[in-house]
Amino acid sequence: MRVVFNNSDCYVYDKGFAVPFILANLVTGESADLRGAIDTGFDGDLMVDSETYERLNLRLSERPESEFPAYRTFSGTILFKSSLARVTMPGRNSMAEVITPVSGLGKILVGRRALKNLTTLLHKAERYCVGDAKIE
């Protein structure tokens, strides 16, 4: 089996595995270059910290409050705000659900739903590749 990535889709390991992506507001077009830690325990698309959510004005295309997702975690159920935004990452340029905690700061994470569109290769604590690679 052979997996072929573009060189630009590979990164040197630095404390963790993270996916670079551009997040843009659907209404205003404001955007930010971000890096989200790969989190296979998170079943959604993307999480951002509340500062990024506010800075990008993601409240302009929010889901209704009655549909904000609730996550069951080790420390209880946490309620998140949820918005639609455009995400550009290797092999993907589409709308995605972006969440941030209703209370608290949050982090930048890339979850399983976003990872489904990517081929991910984690090579020890040396380098990793995330992209639209083909397996031959």
Partner: protein, 136 residues
Amino acid sequence: MLTEEGIYLKHIDRAKYRKLKAIAAERGIPVYKLLNEAIAGYIVSSKGSIPSGEGVTSLEEVDNAKYREASETPSLKGRWVGIARGTIVATGDDAESVVGRMREAYSKSAFRHGIVTRVGEAREEREWLAGSIQQQ
């Protein structure tokens, strides 16, 4: 506070009032409901909030109240809606067209909160595995 008592207003533009009646008929709601929405939206956009005691107190609440109403409208079930300033800006079968109309509305007059969603989606409780746990 809603009362049964009527209000008599002079100098109303008849042509615009007829259009308002036509919109109300199209949506299957009474004219007074449409007027109440327009008044609430105007107060919010000019002052940023509605005085307490009027049922809604913030931009988010006005939009969420409008969404609750939309979710009870059978013809909107399963369709995408865009809501801003307490009014339905767009409806459509796909998110892209609704987002396009939200963008147009924002370029004409910037709003500070908006909802983009498919009507009738229920709140999901999702599970978050241990992926993001980090040692302090």
